[in-house]
């Protein structure tokens, strides 16, 4: 009888694992909370550092899932699970022989950083809002006109003890560079300022893109975290920061403020982890067995991890982990 693998999460990680498992002759079951597959990438416009349309990745994976006739349960939320079964919010229980937890991450709620006025002041957006707007073909204009000044703030909900998010979300730096270039392309007359604490360009082509943003797009990078945003008399946004490289406070008003929101652990990670006897890291993400040979393995036999359930990751890293998890599952089931 074909072995069934329960995959919690139908984002890019879950789909990629399912495709590999199906190709290995196994029977994956993808359990997705939303009505459609695709996860967060569904709402993203273009991907760093190559500006590749995100839709292409999602569509290719969806097509691969469909072509293999993979069993997909959408609109189903997992509330408890272990290696052999997943209990759904609607009371059903899905049985299997192994499980992959691929339920991803949650975007940091920028409204928690009250000082930036997200949700209060017009023209304060998150990086996710910008992607949605670019995807929909609408642009963040100010009273119908092109913005003249735009500020990006890095590390919103990352590296911040005040909001219990001590980790670096990794992808926001390069996202800030990418989005600054995208807005510059659409608003060539705009001056764009990126406020950062560190610029972490860890991936292939990232540093090159950063340099291109500086040289070709003339993006201004100011080392300093914005301390507060406030509305101005003419409906713009005043921001304050320290220009730490000159050692002086700096103030300016902008037409748009974009908050590069971080990746945080899902609220239901703790409950899912407790139900399966898994360990969470202090960050709230799930703790893999180790960070090397065991990075897609949990501390429980038969339960594996793929993607951002264990930490913030790029799309490429996530997809690689999904393949590795599928391979590990196949090896695990062969020995049983």
């Amino acid at each position: 009888m074909t072995k069934r693998i329960l995959i919690i999460g139908g984002g890019i990680a879950g789909m990629r694992s399912a495709v590999s498992l199906a190709d290995a002759g196994l029977h994956p079951v993808v359990i997705e909370r939303e009505a459609v597959l695709g996860g967060k990438v569904r709402n993203w416009h273009a991907l760093f550092p190559t500006f590749t349309p995100a839709a292409g990745i999602v569509e290719e994976l969806r097509a691969a899932v469909a072509a293999r006739g993979i069993e997909v349960l959408t609109g189903c939320t997992a509330v408890r699970f272990d290696a052999r079964r997943v209990e759904l919010a609607d009371g059903r229980t899905i049985e299997g022989d192994a499980a992959i937890l691929a339920s991803g991450f949650t975007l940091f709620d920028a409204g928690i950083k009250e000082e930036y006025g997200y949700g209060l002041y017009e023209h304060v957006y998150t990086s996710a809002d910008i992607e949605r707007m670019l995807l929909a073909g609408t642009l963040p204009t100010v009273n119908g006109a092109a913005p003249r000044r735009i500020a990006f703030l890095h590390c919103v909900g990352s590296r911040d003890e005040k909001v219990c998010q001590k980790h670096c979300s990794r992808v926001c730096c390069i996202t800030g560079v990418k989005q600054a270039m995208e807005l510059k392309q659409r608003f060539p007359g705009a001056e764009i300022f990126n406020f950062y604490m560190d610029i972490r360009m860890f991936g292939p082509g990232y540093e090159e893109l950063y340099r291109e943003a500086q040289l070709r797009s003339n993006i201004h990078f100011i080392r300093g975290r914005i301390s507060e945003a406030a509305p101005t008399f003419d409906g713009r946004i005043q921001i304050k920061a320290e220009d730490t490289l000159t050692g002086r406070p700096l103030r300016m008003s902008v037409d748009l403020l974009v908050l590069l929101v971080g990746m945080r652990a899902n609220d239901d990670n703790a409950a899912l982890a407790a139900s399966a006897g898994l360990e969470t890291a202090p960050s709230g993400f799930l703790a893999p067995r180790d960070l090397f040979l065991g990075n897609i393995r949990s501390s429980v036999e038969g339960i594996f991890y793929a993607g951002t359930i264990t930490a913030p990751k790029t799309i490429g890293e996530t997809l690689n982990e999904a393949v590795a998890a599928a391979e590990a599952v196949a090896a695990y089931l062969k020995n049983r």
Partner: protein, 113 residues
């Protein structure tokens, strides 16, 4: 006449980008666009002959110019001894010595306050 209270209203030391003019900085950047790729590493200042003996800080100086702050710039830039060591060390390949010359040329008429 204003009353003398024995103190005045302190002037803010904030860099106000709503008021500052960028065109002088842009005149430098137009000729030497690679200056915009500075990552603030400070190796130019670390190796600087003049900076070892005075408070001359090339990294800070060109950053201030790019922010539209010119007060005292001409006096400052004249501390440079034009040795060119900074250009050898810059990881971004910026022609720092050329930038110094450009600043002198573009800011020369800005007399110290």
């Amino acid at each position: 006449m204003a009353l003398d209270f024995g103190y005045g209203i302190s002037k803010p030391r904030t860099i106000d980008l709503d008021r500052n003019e960028f065109y002088k900085g842009n005149a430098v950047l137009g000729k030497m666009p690679e200056l915009q790729s500075c990552i603030g590493c400070g190796s130019c200042t670390a190796t600087c002959t003049a900076g070892a003996l005075t408070d001359f800080n090339f990294r800070r100086l060109h950053t201030l110019i790019r922010r539209g702050e010119f007060k005292g710039i001409y006096d400052e830039i004249n501390k440079c001894m034009l040795c060119g060591k900074c250009r050898l060390t810059c990881p971004r390949g910026i022609n720092t010595r050329g930038v110094v010359q450009l600043i002198k040329r573009n800011m020369g008429y800005l007399q110290p306050e």
